[in-house]
């Protein structure tokens, strides 16, 4: 349990913003993931939560190198995964599989379930003859709770929940060590959501899997995860066991996030104190200086918050937080205050010091 399977060190993914027809000039960057460190132990479930645009999906994809990270590295089972190339990388990918959010668009509509499942086995030389593969496929389907008649069907013949089961079977087919599940249940109806959540838990017990679950729904993440990391604008702001995080959120953002989630119980709803955040998430192309959250933080202080970016530090064993004033906020020394919403520009993130010469598009080039 205590052995580290994945260790991500200072991971960065910056997407360039390009402009121009003739020369692809880079005029800025979207700082989707900006320096994230995390460790996942073998056999545990690590949950990554945050709102849309906080970089959680990009981080997950960068770990699998579906997006090339700009900086930092990932150590997977003692090997530097981020420096692997070609055939070595391809072989290593067998051990890290992914389950995507939208089960319909991540399954090829023209491939039967059998061909979807066999594809990975063939690519990794695990297809050992017709009989054995057939047996393996039936095992997989029964593991995810589908009848073996499903093999000859196509994705459109299934309901949303069943399609997600196929996606999970595809990830399982290669006996991976780590499964990265990006919003595995958010496209499903609530009654079906619980089926898939339970399935993921059962499979973990059965096959000793390690999960990285990425989701925006804190209640789902809390339910399924052993440890949870909360992301805001490209960085981790808090990391703790799921019980600790819920019982004692230390970062102002986590507090606000927890208080914003509706609980299906009127008694709780009437009593709870809500921390409403003002305004919107700032643009990741032009992130605020210092602490990324200071523009919306009700606990913001005059000093440090807007100048110095807080590092993730361990406040209690196993509970890390990236806030300069976490202790004072917890003890009540600093009280929340009103925050005026700041206009968030839906701009293109072009930094003002880049000279914009030349046309930006074909239309501009033709009609200057």
């Amino acid at each position: 349990m205590s052995e580290t399977l994945v260790s991500v060190q200072d991971m960065k993914v910056h997407f360039p913003i390009k402009r121009g027809v003739f020369f692809d000039r880079t005029v800025g960057h979207v700082y989707a993931v900006d320096g994230v460190d995390l460790e996942i132990k073998r056999g545990e479930t690590y949950g990554l939560v945050g709102e849309s645009g906080c970089g959680k999906s990009t981080l997950g994809r960068a770990m699998l190198r579906l997006n090339e990270p700009t900086g930092g590295k990932m150590i997977f089972d003692g090997q530097d995964f981020s420096s692997l190339k070609g055939e070595d990388l391809r072989k290593m990918r067998r051990r890290i599989q992914m389950v995507f959010q939208d089960p319909l668009s991540s399954l090829d509509p023209r491939q039967s379930v059998e061909s979807i499942l066999v594809e990975g086995l063939r690519a990794h030389d695990l297809d050992k003859g017709k009989e054995e593969t057939g047996k393996r496929l039936r095992e997989l389907l029964s593991a995810v709770g589908l009848p073996s008649t499903a093999l000859r069907k196509y994705p459109h013949e299934f309901s949303g929940g069943q399609r997600q089961r196929i996606g999970i079977a595809r990830a399982l087919a290669l006996n991976p060590d780590l499964i990265v599940a990006d919003e595995p249940v958010s496209a499903l109806d609530v009654s079906v959501q619980a089926q898939v959540v339970n399935l993921l838990e059962e499979l973990q017990e059965q096959f000793g899997l390690t999960y990285l679950v990425i989701a925006h729904d804190l209640a789902v993440v809390k339910h399924i995860s052993d440890r949870v990391g909360v992301m805001y604008l490209g960085g981790l702001v808090e990391e703790a066991t799921s019980e600790d995080l819920y019982a004692e959120p230390l970062h102002p953002y986590t507090r606000a996030l927890l208080s914003a989630i509706p609980v299906p119980d009127p008694v709780v709803e009437d009593r709870r104190e809500r921390i409403l955040l003002a305004g919107d998430l700032p643009s990741p192309a032009n992130p605020p200086s210092g602490c990324r959250f200071h523009t919306r933080c009700p606990w913001r202080q005059q000093t440090r918050c807007d100048t110095e970016r807080p590092a993730l530090r361990e406040l209690k064993p196993g509970h890390k937080v990236a806030c300069h004033w976490a202790e004072q906020i917890q003890s009540g020394e600093i009280q929340p205050h009103e925050v005026k919403p700041i206009l968030v520009e839906e701009d293109d993130g072009i930094s003002p010091d880049v000279p914009l010469v030349g046309p930006a598009s074909v239309t501009e080039a033709l009609n200057p």
């Binding site: 619980a194 959540v197 606000a256 914003a260």
Partner: protein
């Protein structure tokens, strides 16, 4: 008298060469002035079609609507198109789910707000602009003067939804129908919008019909809750009663299948087996019977009638006895 009285509303979609599909099947509910009523259910339960039918937004061809929708004494379903146009936006406001596709992308926000004011209140453009600025201010859009001139794509999702609420409330309607107004938004933005709606509804005395799949949203906002399944209301009660003691196996199952933030660690979820596709038609029995842990033989033979049980309407042959834990089911 109730502000809105929906009685036996039925919407049947008929396509050539296909079996008619009953999307809404005899739905009845009342909305008192100033009250917030919730319609909850999963996708395909008919909650959105109900709202479109009330607003008269369903196509004339292909959709057969029966029953009555009485608003302030007049039956909306009997009104002509022109009469309905006069009422929509003035007496009945609507907020849709996706703010980007319900705003016109090539018209500035300001014009879209003033359009309602000019059409229904006969305001001159200049005056309407001033009113529009106040409206945007009221729904919490910062710097409204500038936002009036901007286009929907220049606003964030939360701001767009605020603009949409401003448009819906421009004529101070007595009834507002909100169809999944926060589903497309992040939780922190959802919390902003919900508290805004709560505030506005209280200030203006507007009645609200809240359509959502999220039981958490309903728990915090609605006075009365209607749970829909397969086009029928299966359970209706005041919110405290409904959440404390769900009697219909579907409501009970839904509540047991939602992971809760305040749940004890290690608590298992109890899903409802199968999916909405496993329904049987209501004419044959109870639509939920194939998925129901409490199903008896009678459930697939006789359609359960709506019964009044001490302030709670229930449509079930074998309701959940209060206090029983959710039945363990093997997922199919």
């Amino acid at each position: 008298m109730a502000l809105l009285e929906v009685r036996d509303l039925t919407v049947v979609f008929q396509r050539k060469g296909e079996e008619p599909f009953r999307a809404v099947d005899g739905v009845s509910f009342d909305v008192e002035p100033g009250q917030t009523v919730g319609l909850v259910g999963e996708s395909g339960c008919g909650k959105s079609v109900t709202s479109l039918a009330i607003m008269g937004l369903l196509p004339k061809r292909g959709a057969k609507i029966t029953g009555t929708v009485r608003y302030d004494g007049t039956d909306l379903l009997k009104l002509s198109d022109k009469e309905m146009r006069d009422r929509r936006g003035r007496d009945l406001g609507m907020v849709f789910q996706d703010p980007l596709s319900s705003l016109n992308p090539v018209v500035p926000i300001g014009l879209q707000v003033t359009e309602v004011l000019e059409r229904h209140r006969g305001m001159p453009r200049k005056e309407a602009m001033i009113e529009a600025k106040d409206l945007l201010d009221k729904v919490g859009i910062p710097d409204p003067n500038r936002r009036l001139k901007e286009y929907p794509h220049q606003l964030s999702g939360g701001m767009r939804q605020r603009a949409l609420i401003a448009i819906a409330l421009a004529c101070r309607p007595k009834l507002l129908i909100a169809d999944e107004p926060t589903t497309a938004l992040d939780v922190t933005i959802q919390a902003q919008i919900l508290s805004l709606m709560k505030e506005l509804v209280q200030d203006l005395g507007t009645a609200l019909v809240m359509i959502t799949h999220d039981l958490g949203v309903v728990a915090g906002l609605c006075d009365e809750v209607n749970v829909l399944y397969g086009g029928k209301v299966v359970e209706k009660a005041m919110r405290h009663k409904l959440f404390a003691e769900p009697r219909h196996p579907y409501t009970h199952g839904l509540l047991a299948s939602i992971p809760r933030l305040d749940a004890a660690p290690g608590e298992k979820l109890t899903p409802i087996k199968g999916s909405v596709a496993d329904n049987i038609p209501w004419s044959q029995g109870c639509a939920f019977a194939p998925r129901c842990p409490n199903a008896l033989d009678v459930c697939v033979q006789v359609t359960p009638a709506e019964e009044d049980q001490l302030g709670r309407l229930l449509r079930c042959h074998n309701p959940v006895v209060p206090g029983t834990p959710a039945a363990e089911e093997v997922p199919v």
